[in-house]
Symmetry: C2
Subunit: 332 residues, 2 copies
């Protein structure tokens, strides 16, 4: 299989992307071929620093432009058709590669993926999922901020997208689906979550474990946490800052008694950017989005995730699961 | 002034309430008189343990019944008219006391307060606010879970209720009002927060500091954080669990190197239950709700807060601020 890597996405591009790609080639399965998309001179210079060069498993596809933080996501394809994001996603659309990994602007990668790859039939709202650490395995939060105003049926679609992802890419037998809510009982919550609870509970294709309260989220009681993108994004951003806030309090407390212990290992455990990227789910293709501050390991992990999505036929499985009787009109 | 204390509210009632009341009498201003509402025999026994008894500043009002966790909040007044919550709030309604403090069921105290004290004119949704710790002073979150489906005008009312509370009870000159949102720019967010931003920004009576993102919440950049009760409650419950989760990780890390340091001081700092209770804002009276697991100090703090609300004429100030041209019909 072939995977295109946006070489111009991170804050330290293309050094991080090149190192991540090289690590993927040596550490992951042999059937993976990579295409680095970006400025050929810069990419070759980085390869040279690692005593590496182009090879049958490592190609370069020139892209003369680059999406910047200030660019409007909606107009990237039109205004920057030669950007690494546009070139890489066209490779995917045209079947030259099987997946696309980028640490560029999330909005731009999303918008370009939606336009070029198109949503799968039965998916009204493709969704970017994000993993966060818990006492158990990391939980996939869907939606993490893409879709801020949702109907109950959208949340049900998120549940199915998440189910297939966790089954295909992480190999879970029967992924547990939870609904972010306030209170455990089915009748708790706002209009959106009350109706969503009813739909999820009645869906025979889902292992629905019920409402997940704020205080339960970190217990690892579900594999996929379904939420509207507003609540999901509030939660995600707050998690990061709360973790750093508490670590800061602890460091200050330890310093009082003359100790100054590095808590880096804890901070790293809490850093969800290392988990292998955020998958864009519900489009006719595999797009994995990494944080702009990603280290090489995160790029390598995202490549591993993309490869597993291709290998497991994730997109075909999602298409089969979503384009079914679940799209019935009685869902509000 | 006189303040009624529900003596039967905490998990350790009435011991905690009696000790908290006695501490309030010795530590707070002399003009405060307290009425303990509950089982007279149990209350007298607790007083005796502290070598105290009834006095002109410390009365007992018998209440033969008690609201239990399983009781439906909506029917408490009808089914348990002799409960300490019902008796205490009737004292307030009839003007025998100026405020009511309870650590009983939040739902029951809310419902009974709404029915007996009534919402102020111009307040469609009275709201329970909760303080949480930040790098700066604690922030008041409004709404913290009472009103899960809100319109923009409800959030504007929360902003005014919070403004008056922080000005009157905490003595802030010009409380900073923030809107919980995803993204800093005015146009970010869902339909609710976009429209609410417009209304708050156009309101000359508010010191609106703009959108507050999840990652900013703990910076202490606002004094009142306005949110719909769903997002607010998710945030609040998640904060508590995230803090404990991170503390647990740190403790495990320290234990690895043979250290086992108590992090109790940090845990205590993060415990918002010690902050003096959650005020019910927007009714024609002063109701302060404490956590069921409150220690005596929290009861004492809630009494201090209630006294300050009475002393500052908070209810009259809220009535004057809310029952104004802000109730204009063009607000959606």
């Amino acid at each position: 299989m072939r995977i295109a890597i946006d070489a111009m996405g991170t804050d330290a591009a293309p050094a991080v992307e090149v190192e991540g790609a090289l690590r993927a080639l040596t550490e992951l399965e042999d059937d993976i071929e990579l295409v680095l998309v970006g400025d050929p001179d810069l990419i070759r210079a980085e390869l040279a620093r690692h005593d590496a060069s182009e090879s049958p498993r490592l190609g370069i596809r020139p892209a003369t432009d680059r999406v910047r933080a200030g660019d409007s996501p909606a107009t990237v394809l039109r205004k920057k058709p030669d950007s690494s994001i546009a070139v890489g996603l066209r490779l995917h659309k045209e079947g030259e590669v099987d997946a696309f990994v980028s640490a560029g602007s999330t909005g731009a990668v999303m918008a370009a993926s939606l336009f070029l790859l198109r949503p799968l039939p039965g998916v009204e709202r493709p969704s970017v999922g994000t993993f966060f650490p818990t006492r158990g395995a990391p939980t996939l939060l869907l939606d993490a901020g893409t879709n801020v105003d949702c109907k109950p049926r959208h949340l049900v679609q998120f549940a199915h997208l998440g189910r297939v992802y966790m089954a295909d890419v992480l190999g879970l037998d029967s992924p547990r689906i939870g609904l972010l809510n306030i209170g455990e009982e089915p009748e708790k919550g706002n209009e959106l979550t009350q109706e969503t609870h009813r739909l999820l509970a009645a869906d025979p294709g889902l292992n629905f474990v019920g409402n997940i309260e704020g205080r339960e989220i970190l217990e690892g009681t579900c594999d996929v946490l379904v939420a509207d993108g507003f609540a999901g994004n509030v939660l995600l951003k707050f998690y990061e800052s709360a973790a750093h806030f508490v670590l800061g309090l602890v460091a200050a407390e330890l310093a009082k008694s003359g100790e100054a212990r590095p808590l880096d290992s804890v901070a790293r455990l809490l850093d969800y950017s290392e988990y292998g990227g955020a998958p864009l789910l519900g489009v006719n293709g595999v797009t994995i989005i990494c944080h702009g501050g990603s280290p090489p390991k995160a790029i390598r992990n995202a490549i591993r995730v993309a490869a597993q999505a291709v290998r497991s036929d994730m997109v075909a499985d999602m298409a089969a699961e979503l384009d079914s009787d679940r799209k019935t009109p009685e869902h509000p």
